[in-house]
């Protein structure tokens, strides 16, 4: 075999009743990101530069749960996470709990390249972003109306909402007794399903 290869994803666990138009939009967005990566590979960019470039593009697309269009927490806030790893050097960088950094994946890259650490989170990560000139935006940049509605639905259902649907009623019968015991946000942890 040999030669370059690339793959992108936009999340696992899709609502079977997702409207066809949304499915088409998602496919177009994935293809657009894929072609961005392909042209970078054809220009002999390195693997780690290409994965950062492609994820930056996907973070700006509100169709996917990252960056702009991020899921909202129980408090209606945004807490974004990202990580990157360069296989040829085993260097890696990760960030968590971001709410103002426009491209979390680029901050993870800065952690990898400009810090002695592998992982920075919350206030420390936000401070590091400002020290290193990462692009900062208002948190409202990440919040889309659709996710405000989804958060409301999830609260009304007292559940964790998947990307595209509320769990069907009667979920409390499917979880095992033990799982019922393990709760998060007041619901059995078994409700957590693929994003």
């Amino acid at each position: 075999m040999g030669g370059w290869a690339i793959a992108v994803h936009g999340g696992a666990g899709i609502d079977p009743s997702l409207p066809l138009q949304r499915q088409e939009e998602a496919c177009q967005a994935l293809l657009s990101a894929l072609h961005l990566g392909i042209s970078a590979l054809r220009s002999a960019s390195s693997a780690v530069d290409v994965v950062e470039l492609v994820v930056r593009e996907l973070e700006l697309n509100p169709l996917f749960n990252s960056g702009c269009g991020s899921a909202l927490t129980a408090q209606g806030t945004v807490e974004m996470d990202a990580s990157i790893m360069d296989g040829s050097t085993r260097k890696c960088g990760a960030v968590s709990g971001l709410s103002t950094v426009k491209n979390p994946i680029s901050l993870a890259r800065l952690v990898m390249d400009k810090s002695p650490h592998a992982y920075l989170a919350f206030d420390g990560a936000e401070a590091f972003a400002r020290q290193h000139g990462a692009e900062i935006v208002d948190t409202s940049f990440f919040i889309i109306e659709e996710n405000v509605i989804r958060l409301k639905q999830a609260k009304e259902a007292k559940s964790i909402q998947f990307d595209y649907r509320l769990p069907s009623k009667g979920w409390d019968t499917c979880a095992s007794e033990a799982e019922q015991m393990v709760q998060m946000n007041g619901v059995p942890i078994s409700l957590y399903s693929p994003e």
Binding site: G3, W4, A5, I6, A7, V8, H9, G10, G11, A12, G13, I14, Q23, C27, L30, L31, L34, G37, L41, A44, S46, A47, V50, V51, E52, V54, V55, F64, N65, S66, S70, A71, L72, A74, Q75, T77, E79, M80, D81, A82, S83, I84, D86, G87, S88, R90, C92, I105, A108, A121, A154, K155, I160, Q161, D163, M184, Y192, S193, P194, E195
Partner: protein, 131 residues
Amino acid sequence: TVGCVVVDALGRCAAATSTGGLINKMCGRIGDSPLIGAGTYACNICAVSATGEGEAIIRATLARDVAALMEFKGISLKEAVDCAIHERLEDGKGGLIAVSNDGHVICGFNTTGMFRALATEDGHMEVGLWD
């Protein structure tokens, strides 16, 4: 969650993953995406980006498992992904994309569908949502 894995023309592998988390999640809850070895991993053999139910992927150290299976059992990328997804990860909990340093690329998942697109230098390209 979004992710990308690449092997470049020199055989170097890299992986990147980014997420907003779960709707209505507890503040401070961290899933698999930022955890090296769970949601993201790359070495000189392969690169992996995972997505799905973060807690299950963390328990399975899913991304590192694919690399370890290849490294220590000497199996192919496809065999390693099939094993990780269908034997190690709890059913219905997630999926991943992966490339190997010899230019192979694969997507595996045990959920209802996964948004993915992939391409190789010899011209193969695919985009998909469902099985």
